[in-house]
Amino acid sequence: MRLGYAIPLVIFFALAVALYVGLGLKPRDIPSALIDKPVPTFDLAAVKGRDKGLATADLNTGEVSLVNVFASWCGPCRVEHPLWMDVQAAGNVPLHGINYKDDPDNAANWLERFGDPYTRTGADRNGRVGIDWGVYGVPETFVIDRQGRIRYKHVGVMTRDILDDRILPLVRQLQEQKQ
């Protein structure tokens, strides 16, 4: 029975290892249920003051694209905004924006003031399209492949590192795959 006294220690050790691994994980990030699935069906009018709206067809043109969910009331969106301006300036991949649950005037002013990095924008006034995309917070960013499938989702603010190490390499890889 002497060995029995060591059982608690063994169990605790396993627990500690699991917790250590757990520290490296990010429990708030729910993986997208839509990975590898086609982009949802939607059709949104442009944000006020912009002329190009965003619909499913625009993401099915045979090009790789990025879709960024943003709002004028969202602080981190402001923080990541310069990165998107850079992406637009580099011109390697079209960037579209879904404006989530925003007031039209506020959104228009926000884009005017800080700059509009989006090729196309869609105004999702009531958040229903966001739900179709599995959005649960802002900002979120999706990578769409040539066939109009969602291949990657990033939750939360975009950083230079993530953009350079994950997003853009994935974009390049998808662009190399023809059909």
């Binding site: 029975m1 839509l34 599995g134």
Partner: protein
């Protein structure tokens, strides 16, 4: 359900429907449904309520959308009501949301291979524990005491007195 309460429920349903149809400018079902108000049809609303309780509020992380004030919870409540009003079954409605958010949106973890340990765990722990205790008991059996000779009247009386005293002094804690 008693007859009285059933009648009250039916009366209330009629009242609500009646009032809403009489009031001028009653919003159409579509416009009204973006607001977080109960459905007119009571049976549909109670189905919706039941579904609210099993769907997780994703930005609160441990409340159901029934319990939460958050914007997203509200939007999902509206969505569930819309789908039910549009004729979806309970499974279809839940499936609609799970399609978009994954299994994680269900408060009750589904019973599948990945969650076997979770669901069977408690019972397994209980069985193991009982087994462990039984093993220990077997090692230390209590011998049956030899029955002592019965007490005579005098001894019985003394025993009763002593037990009386013991009762008052001996606490269990």
């Amino acid at each position: 359900m008693t007859w009285a309460s059933a009648l009250k429920a039916i009366a209330m349903a009629f009242a609500v429907i009646g009032f809403l149809s009489l009031a001028p400018g009653t919003p159409s079902a579509l416009a009204q449904s973006t607001i977080d108000v109960p459905l007119e049809d009571l049976s549909e609303e109670s189905r919706a309520k039941a579904l609210f309780k099993i769907l997780r509020c994703l930005v609160c992380q441990n409340q159901s959308i029934d319990d939460s004030n958050a914007d997203l919870a509200r939007d999902l409540r509206v969505l569930v009501r819309q789908r039910i009003a549009a004729g979806d079954s309970d499974d279809q409605t839940v499936g609609y949301i799970v399609d978009r958010y994954g299994d994680w949106v269900l408060l009750e973890p589904p019973f599948k291979q990945a969650t076997l340990i979770l669901w069977l765990g408690p019972l397994a722990i209980l069985i193991l524990a009982v087994g462990g205790i039984a093993l220990r008991f077997r090692r230390r059996t209590v011998e049956a005491p030899v029955a002592p000779a019965p007490l005579n009247a005098d001894e019985s009386r003394r025993l009763a007195e002593l037990l009386d005293d013991v009762d008052t002094k001996d606490g269990t804690s």
